[in-house]
Amino acid sequence: MSRLADHLWLIPAFPLLAAAVSAVMTRRRRAMAAGMGIGSMALALVLSGAAFVVAMRHADGSGGGRVVFNFPWLQFGDAWLKLGWVLDPLTAVMLVMVSLVGLLIFIYSVGYMAHDENFTRFFCFLSLFAAAMLGLVIANSLLLFFICWELVGLTSYLLIGFWYHKPSAAAAAKKAFITTRIGDLAFLLGMVWLYSQSGTLLFYDGGAGCLEPSSLLTLATRPTATGLMVSTGIALLLFCGAIGKSGQVPLHVWLPDAMEGPTPVSALIHAATMVAAGVFLVARVYPLFSASTGAAPDGTASLAAVTWVGSLTAVFAATIAVAQTDIKRILAYSTVSQLGFMMMGLGMGGVAVGMFHLITHAFFKALLFLGAGSVIHGCREEQDIRYMGGLGKFMPVTFATYGIGMLALSGFPLVFSGFWSKDGILHAAHSWNASHWPFYLGVFGACLTAFYMTRQVAYVFFGARRADGAARLASVPEAESHPGLPSPRQAREGSTHEPHESPRVMTAPLVVLSFFAVALGFIGTPAWPWFQAFLSGEHANLALNRLAEEGALPVLAVSTAVVFLGLGLGWWLYGRRPVTRALERDVLERLWPNVFTLLRRKYFVDEIYEWAVVGFNAWWANACAWLDRWLWDGLVQLVSLTVVGLSWLDRFLDEVVINSGFDKACQGLTGGGGLLARLQSGRVQTYLRLMGVGLTVLALLLLWGCRAS
């Protein structure tokens, strides 16, 4: 079966083929496109399963359970650039997760996009995205990883901007693309630096790869100009790429705006897979991050950076999510917060903790997004939770699956996967000895998560139905509404018909996802850490007593307490007195009005960016324009003026000084000549007379001279 490792490329190949075929098909061949897409994803899933089995068998084998296949790709000069793919537990897990979630979302989107005329194009982009994601997962070379990384970025742009006639969608696509592009720049710099230092971009190359101990040692020991170790420097640059892609604090602004795209896109890309690519990157090059000279065994500077960024993002995004009114934006900020948690897990607990939360999150976040999608679909494209309410009765399946997803996300103890993965992270944070702050931030984040999820469910499914009349729209104060958007709101004014449940093709994936949201929790519990063992290559054995070990129990207690606190608070504020009127001010708004507006306006980060980056750009453009107009133009003017001046001076000189000067000199000469000519009168006696005078003068001089002697 090791041949499967050699042919790992088949997995991304099928969706790529499907994308290619659907790209050339005309819009009318809708069924063909959907069939192709779903078929290729199913095949990819089967192959991924096989690969998972192979990886399972190799897990305890030699080579760290890793099968590598490298091939020379590009020759420049005398050096060959090699690409390749690797099959190791990490790859296997991700393959299965991506293909499974992808398949479910493909099936769901058939129903969701049924009445959209660009159906084939949608499926073409989705297949392309899936191929790129699968390629990224199996890549054994940082270069191939980077190529797929960029393809994923491209497809996210295409899908966000799918409804390009909507200006907000186009703007959001551009914003997403540019923000991730900034991160990718750092990623590229890191990659180039890594190549220059280690000489190869392959992760594992039979000992010579850049993640293998020999090159890691050289990287870790070589200091840079600023005192950082080279490995730390490269790690930080790669982490910037991750920040961009996974929407961490400074570069998170594009993720909420990415909700402009269709909901399956949001679910697939901005919940499960693409945003996870950043975390997967950190997991993949974790040896680089943790490579240290042994001085700080439990975390190098880069891991500390990851931890701090992660914890900050977690709390920051969670606070914003509390004050959002758009159903998909709340989930988007929740995703950002959960990614922060994953980064904290990676930074403190290592690959296994981070990856376990990633996998679990992928499933229940996909579930929540698809649920939201069916809600929107049911409510005639209504996305604002203030105009929903009491949908529980109208959409029982969606309500049920959405509830399971909400409980998994907020980490309801023991039953739901979210609890175990979040607890792993908090446990790692608790045992992290560099600083206790990440632990406190993590706990606070978890509490907030629970709180805003209950608020959302209360708004959407409980309380009175609020989808009434046009009066509301005119008085909507906040800038939320996008001007000129042919959004479902116009539709709303038209009719007041009842919301309806989504068709089976959409509810089936919900049910499957909800099953996984519950099941996955059990493979990673402390009692039976199969998942962690699988990833680290050991053999996992069932031992309930580990639950009661000294470190684990208090953390479990704290996290359950926190979850119940959040749920209770949320129910207290929103569940007890259901909201009756859409425009009613939010409960929190009534309590802390300015804090609430701060949160609702997302800490004004967009405005700050607008002011800073765009402002700076505008200012710089103006400055350049001014410079060009005045300095360079001025210089040219100056040169031309001097030349003209010089020519005038030259003419003046030539005219006055030389010509007239010369003429005068000549006149003087001829005059002098004339004078002398008169002396030559031709009369011999005059000459004699002159000689006589000369003689007398000389004689006088002589006599006068020697008179003294």
């Binding site: 002398l676 000519a677 008169r678 002396l679 030559q680 009168s681 031709g682 009369r683 011999v684 006696q685 004699l688 007379r689 006589g692």
Partner: protein
């Protein structure tokens, strides 16, 4: 006044008369005669200084005078030949009119 001074005065006077004639007279031949007189005045000077000079046996004065007489004769011959050819060209020996060689 010693006799040497007398001779020198005589030669000076002779020279002056010759010069006056050369400068004042209009006719070319008279000018030549004036020049002859001046040359002779110079010879007289030589002989006077030889006679009353420190070492007369050196005979330089006398020889100088002899050579100067010879040269004067040649000069007179050439001068008169020139005057004659000028006369043949311009039919006059009046120096006032013979002034074509001028600047």
């Amino acid at each position: 006044m010693t006799s040497l001074q007398a001779y020198l005065l005589l030669s000076a006077l002779l020279f002056a008369i010759g010069l006056a004639g050369a400068l004042a007279r209009r006719n070319a031949i008279i000018v030549l005669i004036g020049i002859e007189l001046m040359l002779n005045a110079a010879n007289l000077n030589f002989i006077a200084f030889w006679r009353f000079g420190p070492n007369p046996e050196a005979l330089t004065g006398v020889l100088f005078a002899i050579f100067s007489i010879g040269i004067a004769a040649a000069e007179a011959a050439v001068g008169l030949a020139l005057v004659i050819s000028i006369y043949r060209h311009q039919k006059t020996t009046d120096l006032g009119q013979v002034d074509s060689l001028k600047g």
